[in-house]
């Protein structure tokens, strides 16, 4: 967009260099104005950013030993955030650990335990570090928050030793750490993604229109230059006696003269490229986006969150969405897990009033122990070394405990079992020692803990997705459990399978060795850990399964229905299992009972997948044909899983697209985050180039949010990563309806009209000037005074359109929301189609012709227009055209305005009044600093002529009269959906 400013700068420079019809000020001033406004806006945004930066950068840091930043030893006290990436050196806790929360990094609110790598250092006072520390190797910079760790020369460091900048210290009085990555090299800074600039469809068409206008400009300039020379080839026109040339002019080279003439015409017509378009659009977007945040309907009372706009550039894109890709968990659902059912050793249990009957201790132990939940007490720093936190449970009343978990499922399970197992009835507490945690990762889809039982044996508990555990299970009620899991899934519950493994002492020694070796490996630590995990997590004994319910959000069904009526295709992309996903889809109205559901599941090979796709396509075709006969619309839904999808996308994109297009609802389950983005890209790049919108709440939706044209973040429980990477953030899924149907509709209509009107008004402005050249020997005489040329776009006609584009409401918001079909009226950028563009441009040309020739005929009859017989001159002629133009152009916008607030009245009538007052003032004074006084009293003389008044009125009416007729006819003959309302 800065190219436009560059263009104006060039014009300005041309004016400085050669003899042009207008002074450099004429285009320099608008350029200056535009740049000033832009810089004020950006300055304001920078100031906001600066303020936010200061909060972070201004925070005091206690530095113990100062090195060259990296190598500084830093003390961080409780509840402070880490200023740089630190390697933990000492903690005041006797076990050498500290707890941190990374809420501001990844949104996980759970407490994480970080520990010293050199246990011997734990209790040594900080002054020790003034001595030799050993050499610290800091590997190159990778942005992954959890990979890549520095290492001390004699000991590797793991993620548990590294404290990331931005995280907050909890439950620990103070720690000392050595800075390893600082400033822009810290992990957090590396993760600042330069947000790829998303450009809206409107902006793209605006740019193509600009190119068309540039062509018009070049054409006009070239035509004028050629005609000038054609005319001048005759001696009598070239140099009539009254207008002799100077010697210098006669002798200059013809080519040079030709070029300078061309440039002069370019300068003369340059206003056809609307200089203030960009700045007005930017202002409109910037100011207009406030309305989203201000909207009470988008405000969520319970969580006290209002809608948030991260990019104002995409406001109008909200009105153009054709595909919505939504995450399920946390987006369609509340992400508030409640334990509902479980299956233990093939027996099903249901939760009734918070009590679960049964004595299957092993299963209960597994669920109670196999997790990474942290507990926060009201009184911190009470951790006794070497003790399990659970040992304190009995000492505190349950209200004092709060669980922090990275996974809501785990939290739900632990909470459920906490309430279920009555502390008073349990006769004694078991004491387990945690030996190892095999952390969860999305590839394995399971996690395990290895514990030492009170009796001294070693046991491992594993829990995870059923597909990740069942293949490794060797004993237990396999079949029944599988059945129950499917049953839970059908009810829409999230399922987890629990298993255990007993180790013999020899086995455990082997396990311990492998784990330690993998964890301390200096190279390929990740791969080695995976290997070790796979070695350990096998030969499992199946214990049972749990079913956790995730409640649907409010009004999801209505929202999806509204979106569908609006012609938007909704795709649900989820990581859940197929049955769970389908049942949630059904309950949230994404799939209907009457829908014909097609499946593309568990395709293992390319050929199989292609075959299935072809079958689906054929059946769809058959339905298409039968639909015509039966006059009965069957809707189709498609279910795809991740594996099949990747096959389908690899080879058969076209076929897949075809099937998808015929389906009104698509559900993709078992999706990896990157696959979500791939699906979005597939649709985005399909031949129709539809506008896509992705909505999600978790870190796994970020790639999809960034990929889609519009990314919406839900401010849910899974942290703020999605929100931070989104273009808009809302608190609940249901707000999407208003955001798209009302705000999107408003913004689109506003900006579309704004763009079209801008081109129109500049055509109106410059075409008379072009026409005038035919009557002045192509001598580049301006029709209007240069002050008028300068102020037309920045004063006389700028405010009405800005106010229009902020307040216009073609249809009442309630109507828009209750009749989603109205959204289809503006789909596919219809208001900026080439046809409408042509309409506005031709209208501009027509109006310009009427202005010019109306005035021409009036003046061209050579008669006086004044009662005293005096004659008008060329400036009066130009002023007449200009006056008519300012009024017509303003009134044309008035005709387009459907929503007249007091501000519209004020700026519309105010602009016209301002023009008159300004002209009277400007023409009423001999301006000492002006070179000529061409405009002195011209305006007053014009207005003192009765004929001029009559002419102004008739020309304006002539211009607007067809518009009014067109509107009436449009209204009564072609009742579009909008006008029908």
């Amino acid at each position: 967009r800065r190219i436009a400013n560059f263009y104006f700068l060039i014009i300005f420079l041309v004016q400085l260099m050669i003899d042009t019809p207008t002074s450099p000020v004429t285009s320099g001033l608008p350029l200056f104005f535009v740049i000033t406004v832009t810089s004020i806006k950006q300055g304001y945004e920078d100031w906001l950013r600066h303020k936010a930066d200061n909060e972070v950068n201004g925070a005091p840091v206690y530095v113990v030993r100062s090195g060259s930043l990296v190598g500084d030893i830093v003390r961080v006290a409780k509840d402070e955030t880490f200023p740089v990436d630190l390697v933990l050196l000492s903690s005041d806790r006797p076990d050498g650990t500290c707890h941190i929360t990374t809420a501001s990094l990844d949104g996980e609110t759970n407490l994480k335990r970080h520990s010293l790598s050199l246990t011997t250092f734990a209790v040594i006072p900080s002054s020790f570090y003034l001595l030799h520390l050993g050499e610290m190797k800091v590997p190159g910079h990778l942005s992954n928050l959890y990979l890549c760790f520095p290492s001390l020369s004699f000991r590797p460091l793991g993620p548990e030793n590294l404290l990331l900048r931005g995280a907050r210290l909890k439950n620990t009085k103070e720690i000392f750490g050595v800075a390893v990555y600082t400033g822009m090299e810290s992990k957090m800074a590396l993760n600042y993604k330069c947000k790829s600039q998303k450009r809206s469809a409107v902006e793209k068409s605006m740019n193509s229109f600009l190119i068309i206008y540039l062509c018009i400009l070049l054409f006009e300039a070239i035509l004028s230059t050629i005609l000038k020379y054609a005319w001048q080839s005759e001696e009598k026109w070239n140099e009539p006696f009254y207008n002799q040339k100077t010697e210098q002019e006669r002798n200059s080279s013809p080519i040079l003269k030709f070029i300078s003439d061309f440039l002069a015409f370019l300068v003369l017509y340059n206003f056809i490229i609307p200089i203030s378009l960009y700045v007005t659009v930017e202002m409109q977007k910037f100011l207009g986006s406030f309305f989203i945040g201000w909207d009470l309907d988008l405000y969520h009372e319970e969580s006290d969150q209002k809608a948030q706009v991260n990019t104002s550039d995409l406001n109008e894109e909200l009105g153009q969405v054709e595909y919505v890709f939504t995450d399920k968990t946390g987006t369609l659902t509340e992400n508030e897990m409640h334990f509902r059912e479980c299956s233990i050793n093939g027996t099903k249990y249901r939760e009734v009033n918070g009590k679960l009957m049964g004595e299957e201790l092993l299963f209960l132990k597994a669920v109670a122990l196999c997790h990474t939940v942290q507990i926060s007490y009201d009184q911190p720093d009470c951790m006794v070394p070497g003790s399990d936190p659970f040992s304190h449970v009995n000492g505190f009343s349950a209200n004092h405990m709060e669980y922090y978990a990275s996974s809501p499922d785990e939290k739900a399970l632990v909470e459920a079992f906490d309430t279920m197992t009555d502390h008073n009835t349990v006769p004694y507490a078991y004491r387990f020692k945690l030996l190892h945690v095999l952390e969860f990762d999305p590839n394995r889809r399971r996690m395990s803990v290895i514990l030492q039982t009170p009796s001294g044996g070693q046991i491992m508990f594993t829990k995870g997705a059923e597909s990740a555990i069942l293949p490794f299970a060797t004993s237990g009620e396999m079949e029944k459990t599988r059945l129950h899991v499917d049953e839970f899934a059908l009810k829409g519950l999230r399922t987890l399978v629990v298993a255990c493994r007993h180790f013999s002492p020899e086995q455990y020694t082997e396990v311990d060795r492998r784990l330690n070796a993998a964890r301390t490996a200096l190279q390929q630590r990740e791969e080695k850990l995976q290997e070790a995990f796979n070695f350990i997590e096998r030969d499992l004994q199946l214990l049972g399964a749990t079913g956790v319910e995730d409640k649907l959000q409010d009004k999801v069904q209505e929202t999806i229905e509204a979106l569908r009526l609006a012609g938007i295709k909704v795709w649900v992309l989820t990581g859940d299992k197929h049955e769970t996903a389908v049942s949630v889809s059904l309950s949230c109205g994404h799939f209907h009972r009457t829908m014909n559901i097609l499946e593309l599941l568990q395709q293992r090979s390319d050929n199989e997948c292609a075959e299935q796709l072809r079958r689906l396509a054929r059946s769809l075709c058959w339905y298409c044909l039968s639909r015509i006969k039966e006059d009965h619309v069957i809707q189709h839904g498609l279910v795809v899983d991740g594996a099949s999808l990747s096959l389908a996308l690899r080879e058969h994109e076209k076929l897949f697209m075809e099937v998808c297009k015929n389906c009104s609802a698509v559900l993709c389950c078992r999706m990896a985050p990157l696959q979500k983005a791939k699906v979005v890209r597939l649709i985005k790049t399909s031949p129709e180039k539809p506008i896509t919108l992705a909505v999600g709440d978790g870190a796994n939706d970020v790639s999809m949010i960034q990929e889609a044209h519009v990314g919406i973040g839900i401010m849910g429980k899974e942290g703020r990563q999605a929100v931070r990477n989104s273009d808009y953030a809302i608190a609940r899924f249901k707000f999407l309806a208003k955001l798209l149907l009302v705000h999107g509709h408003f913004y689109y209509i506003r900006i579309a009209t704004l763009v079209q009107y801008f081109f129109y008004k500049n055509v109106c402005f410059i075409t008379p000037q072009f026409l005038y050249q035919f009557f002045c020997l192509f001598s580049q005489q301006t029709l209007y005074d240069s002050v008028y040329l300068t102020l037309y776009n920045i004063c006389f006609t700028s405010l009405p359109i800005l106010v229009y584009s902020l307040f216009e409401q073609l249809v009442h918001p309630h109507v828009l929301q209750s009749k989603p079909a109205l959204y289809r009226d503006i789909s596919r950028n219809s208001m900026l189609s080439f046809r409408t563009f042509l309409y506005w441009t031709l209208l501009g040309f027509c109006h310009a012709f009427v202005f010019f020739f109306g005035s021409y005929i009036l003046m061209g009859e050579d008669t006086t227009l004044m009662g005293n017989g005096q004659m008008f001159g060329n400036w009066t002629f130009g002023t007449l055209v200009f006056t008519v133009m300012v009024i017509t152009v303003t009134l044309k916008l008035a005709l387009e305005t459907h929503f007249w607030t007091w501000m519209n009245h004020f700026v519309t009538w105010g602009s016209i009044a301002f023009y008159f007052i300004f002209s009277l003032f400007y023409g009423g004074i001999i301006w000492p600093f002006l070179h000529t006084q061409d405009m002195y009293f011209v305006f007053v003389q014009l207005l003192s002529s009765g004929s001029a008044w009559f002419a102004i009125i008739i020309i304006i009416i002539t211009c607007l009269f067809p518009d009014v007729i067109k509107k009436v006819f449009y209204r009564h003959l072609l009742k579009g959906t909008i006008t029908a309302v």
Binding site: D304, K306, F775, P813, E861, Q870, I926, Y936, G946
Partner: protein, 342 residues
């Protein structure tokens, strides 16, 4: 708890008409029910205005005569080459069969004459014309203004005052009008006052405040095409000389279009019926660029001279409004009566 409530207030958007986009607004709808009566009203009003304008214009008279002398039969044929014929005089006879009501305005007209060329139009020095004596002298090629080229200095590097093409090419034909009464020529008094804009004469253009005026022009030369210096333009009236000479002011106000008329004189009492002879001292060359020279007599109403365009335009647009309102009425009626209207 109290704290939490405060926080809520903090984030909750204001519930005002402005922030909720619920500002009271007038929402006009251009429906046939409003537009048809409006069109009828506008149509009728325009037709009324049109008729009035047309009638007013019809009552005005214009008498225009070409005196270029291109054809051999033309009385000014012998003068049409002013280069050879210095101070050539010719006369044009015409007859009025009824009274030309006064005041009659006497115009001269030129065609194919591009006063609106850019280089021509800017070729003047405003500071000179506002009477600033500093701009009357040669001063390091800065004054007079460089736009005056090639009429800035004469061959001896003396500044030309007033400089520039515009002033230099001032129209210099003069006219005397005689009424033939019983074979005796009787001169019709021509009034040359107030033919230029009041502001031009009184404010914009100023003579240097030197008395006598000719002293101010010491060391300058007159424009090349002028036969008299600026301070001697009107020998009969000393107040009509220099830059505030009315003819000069009329010329300096550039015409918008290549065919134009400029006001020459006024005949306050009108012209009674009879024979007239217009004596022309023919000086201005136009044949070279296919130009025509004309004289025109016209009387004016409050809205100016004879101009039928406005009247016709109002009549046309007015009747179009009426026609369109009828068409709209028919369509509106047809839409509402047809069974599948909604």
């Amino acid at each position: 708890m109290q704290k939490k409530e405060n926080q809520e207030v903090e984030n909750r958007p204001d519930n005002t008409a402005f922030t909720q986009q619920r500002l009271p607004a007038w929402q006009p709808i251009l429906s046939a029910g409003i537009v048809i009566p409006l069109f009828v009203l506008v149509g009728l009003a325009f037709i009324g205005i049109g008729v009035a304008l047309f009638v007013t214009s019809r009552n005005l008279h214009v008498l225009e005569m070409d005196y270029t002398g291109v054809e051999k039969t033309s009385p000014c044929f012998s003068c049409s080459d002013p280069i050879k014929q210095k101070n050539c005089k010719c006369s044009l006879s015409f007859e009025l069969d009824k009274l030309f009501e006064g005041p009659v305005f006497f115009y001269y007209g030129l065609t194919n004459y591009f006063q609106n060329q850019r280089a021509y139009g800017v070729s003047k020095d405003y500071n000179q014309l506002s009477g600033d004596l500093d701009y009357f002298t040669f001063f390091f090629s800065i004054v007079p203004d460089s736009t005056c080229k090639p009429y800035r200095y004469d061959v001896n590097n003396k500044p030309i005052v007033p400089c520039g093409s515009l002033a230099n090419s001032m129209f210099n034909d003069t006219f005397n009008l005689y009424q033939m009464k019983n074979g005796v020529k009787e001169e019709v008094p021509l009034d040359g006052k107030g033919i230029s804009w009041w502001t031009d004469y009184n404010i914009k253009y100023r003579n240097p405040s030197v008395n006598p005026l000719r002293n101010a022009f010491n060391g300058t030369v007159k424009p090349l095409y002028w036969s008299k210096p600026a301070y001697e333009l009107d020998p009969t009236d000393t107040a009509n000389n220099g830059f505030i000479n009315q003819d000069f002011l009329v010329w300096m106000r550039r015409s918008a279009l290549p065919n134009f008329r400029k006001l020459y004189r006024r005949i306050t009492d009108g012209l009674p019926a009879g024979n007239y002879s217009l004596e022309i001292s023919y000086n201005y060359p136009v044949i070279a660029f296919d130009g025509k020279k004309k004289v025109a007599f016209s009387n004016v109403s409050w809205m100016g001279g004879k101009n039928e365009f406005l009247g016709i335009a109002y009549l046309v647009i007015g009747s179009l409004c009426l026609v369109m309102s009828v068409v709209m009425l028919i369509i509106y009626h047809w839409r509402n009566s047809s069974p599948d209207a909604n």
